[in-house]
């Protein structure tokens, strides 16, 4: 029986190894399992064991030769067996054009994996280029949705805002214990209370309730709060006019109505425009905090996280409190960090002491 001693693969990336030394001479007896030849890959030397017992009939790879992985190094036969005339050549010759070979070489592509489309199955340059194109990590597209309607408007507005207004976002954690109680008592939502708190704070920090037009900051007289609402058709921002002059209950009922009609797609143009500040709440989705993009032409937007019970330190003791994070993105061209922070702290104070909102 003829058994080939092969160049082993010593690592995943190994392509060829070097024959270091043969432990046996041609014609010498070998036992299965004993080392016959030492090979070297990039990093390690390795003793190749005889795959069969018999006689090392022929050494094909002399010491010092570089041999590709899985090529035959030597041949073991039975003691009285003659060697076949021609050693077996494994693998078929790959027919590829020189141009295909060059391109494959340049990109480290194995020609054996390529199906040739040239005459008589020759691998031509285009075949390699086809593989290269396939290898490019371009995800396949399942469907194409034209950019229209609300999506298109939203895309244009957020990119315009992100481009034009240098955004800065600051975050504060709010203890919602008292607001939670008030909410229970009034049967309103957190958003309703938030709208009121923000509207009241905007009265005192008017610079936030503004817009930048060319060379002038225009401070609005009205406080109209937009509330971002996710609908099947996309994000819609109905506006609660004069929110600072409305009670929480009034805000609650008008907001409920606006949201209902927003979901039905029944809002008038007036109900969707004229906002001076926007609140966007992702708390119901479990979001803690995020960096909202200002709704142009306004100056700031408040991102609202979820209300969640957490251990907080109060009077040097760890207590569990419902807390919420507020993220204020503001147009840094209009205000600096300090006034923005003062506004946000005002909102925080109102929420932590919501009795002031009832007056």
């Amino acid at each position: 029986m003829v058994t080939n001693v092969l160049m082993p693969r010593l690592s995943l990336t190994m392509k060829e190894g070097t024959v270091v030394q043969w432990f046996k001479k041609e014609g010498e007896k070998v036992e299965k399992g004993e080392p016959v030849v030492e090979v070297l890959s990039e990093k390690v030397t390795y003793e190749v064991e005889a795959p069969a017992s018999g006689v090392l009939r022929k050494i094909l790879a002399e010491e010092g030769m570089d041999v590709p992985v899985a090529e035959t190094l030597g041949i073991i036969t039975a003691p009285d067996e003659k060697l076949p005339e021609v050693a077996e050549v494994t693998g078929e010759r790959i027919i590829a054009s020189p141009a295909a070979k060059r391109l494959a070489r340049e990109h480290d592509i194995d020609l054996a994996q390529i199906r040739g489309t040239g005459p008589e199955g020759r691998i031509v340059e285009e075949d390699v280029q086809r593989i290269l194109r396939e290898l490019e990590v371009v995800p396949r597209v399942r469907e194409v949705i034209p950019l229209t309607g609300i999506r298109k408007t939203a895309a244009e507005r957020v990119s315009a805002s992100a481009k034009r207004a240098p955004h800065s976002t600051i975050t504060m954690e709010v203890d919602m214990s008292d607001t939670a109680r008030l909410r229970e008592k009034l049967q309103v939502s957190y958003t309703d209370v938030l709208v009121k708190a923000v509207a009241k704070a905007l009265r005192e920090h008017a610079i936030i309730n503004s817009t930048l037009e060319k060379d002038a900051i225009r401070i609005f007289a009205d406080v109209n709060i937009g509330v971002a609402v996710a609908t099947d058709r996309g994000l819609i921002v109905p506006v609660i006019r004069d929110a600072d002059k409305k009670s929480i209950e009034e805000i609650s009922s008008s907001l409920r109505e606006l949201v209902d009609r927003a979901k039905q797609g029944n809002l008038s143009k007036e109900e969707l425009t004229g906002g001076t500040f926007t609140i966007t709440n992702l708390g119901m989705y479990g979001v803690d905090e995020f960096t909202p993009i200002i709704n142009p032409p306004e100056t700031a937007i408040l991102g609202v996280g979820r209300v969640v019970e957490r251990p907080v330190v109060k009077d040097k003791e760890i207590v569990v409190k419902p807390v919420m994070k507020l993220s204020l993105s503001f147009d840094h061209r209009v205000v600096d960090g300090a006034p923005a922070a003062e506004f946000l702290r005002e909102v925080k104070t109102y929420l932590e002491e919501p009795s002031s909102l009832l007056r």
């Binding site: 054009s97 020189p98 141009a99 295909a100 070979k101 060059r102 040239g118 005459p119 020759r122 031509v124 340059e125 285009e126």
Partner: protein, 324 residues
């Protein structure tokens, strides 16, 4: 631009150069006022420049070329005509051992500014002694230049360059080209040696063709375009010197080359061009180099057999398809 024949374009080149330089003279069999050249290229020149500058000779190609070479080293600029290029064999010693080597043998003390005009090529049913294409012989002789105009424009421009060149130039004309017409400007121009003409831009296959075969190649390219194969056709215009750059750049672009020459395939001009491509652009070849040439046979007298051996559009198209 006006259109004139290849024949008239050659005559214009001769007339204009002779008018400018009294050292230029024409020498050959029946080139003078009585026969005006076998293909009437020299018609009217004897009348215009006199019999001394348009000299009829006895039937001795060896004498024609020998006289020309001798005159050239004395400072004259002879334009010899051999009635049929096939008969250059009779002048071969004068061409290959004298004209081609004199400059070298005298260590550059002299130059050999001469032109040998010769009609070559088959297709007019005049058999093996009058139909050959022998460019390979001259390519194999260092010291010679070889011009092969395929159009009236190139005929005039290359002949002027040949006459002004200080080395012997084998000027190949093709019998079937004399009557063809093409645009030739009236104002002065020359066509430099060693600058190929890209007759047609293409991306799929490079067709290199010389002399009359340029027209066959263009016709084949036209037909293949309709089948979606975009061929680039290159006319080297001079084989020595050869514009390797244009050739190699084209092969790099297309990856495929078919060489079309009318001479015999074995040891032919196409063999040299193929070897250059293999040597200098192997890694860009996407298919074997193909040659369309005459089989290794004398040109038959029989018209059907003659047509059978000559490279034609069908064979060019077949060769292109074999490598696509």
């Amino acid at each position: 631009m006006r259109k004139i024949t290849y024949r008239d374009a050659l005559r214009e080149a001769l007339r204009e150069e002779m008018a400018k330089d009294n050292n230029i003279f024409i020498i050959g069999e029946d080139v003078g006022r009585y026969w005006k050249g076998a293909f009437k290229v020299t018609k009217g020149l004897a009348e215009e420049f006199g019999d001394k500058r348009v000299r009829d000779t006895p039937i001795s190609e060896s004498a024609i070329v020998g006289v020309a070479a001798g005159a050239a080293i004395t400072g004259m600029r002879p334009v010899a005509e051999i009635m049929f290029g096939d008969l250059s064999t009779l002048a071969m010693d004068q061409i290959a051992n004298q004209a081609a080597k004199l400059r070298y043998m005298f260590g550059g003390q002299t130059s050999v500014p001469m032109v040998i005009r010769m009609p070559f090529g088959a297709g007019v049913n005049i058999a093996a002694h009058h139909s050959q294409s022998l460019e390979a012989w001259f390519m194999h002789t260092p010291g010679l230049k070889i011009a092969m105009p395929s159009t009236p424009y190139d005929a005039k421009g290359l002949l002027k360059t040949a006459i002004r060149d200080d080395n012997p130039v084998m000027f190949f004309e093709h019998k079937l080209l004399y009557p063809i017409e093409g645009p030739v400007p009236e104002e002065e121009y020359t066509v430099p040696f060693g600058v190929a003409d890209v007759k047609r831009d293409g991306k799929d296959v490079t067709l290199v063709a010389t002399l009359y075969m340029v027209h066959k190649a263009l016709a084949a390219a036209e037909r293949l375009t309709k089948q979606g194969v975009d061929l680039e056709v290159i006319d080297p215009r001079t084989l020595i010197p050869l514009d390797k750059k244009t050739l190699i750049n084209s092969v790099k672009k297309t990856g495929r080359v078919v060489i079309v020459t009318e001479d015999c395939k074995t040891g032919g001009a196409s063999a040299e061009i193929a070897a250059i491509v293999a040597e200098e652009a192997l890694d860009y070849l996407d298919a074997p180099i193909k040659r369309v040439a005459e089989p290794d046979t004398p040109i038959p007298f029989s018209p059907p057999l003659e047509q059978f051996v000559l490279p034609d559009e069908e064979r060019i198209i077949k060769a292109v398809k074999e490598i696509m």
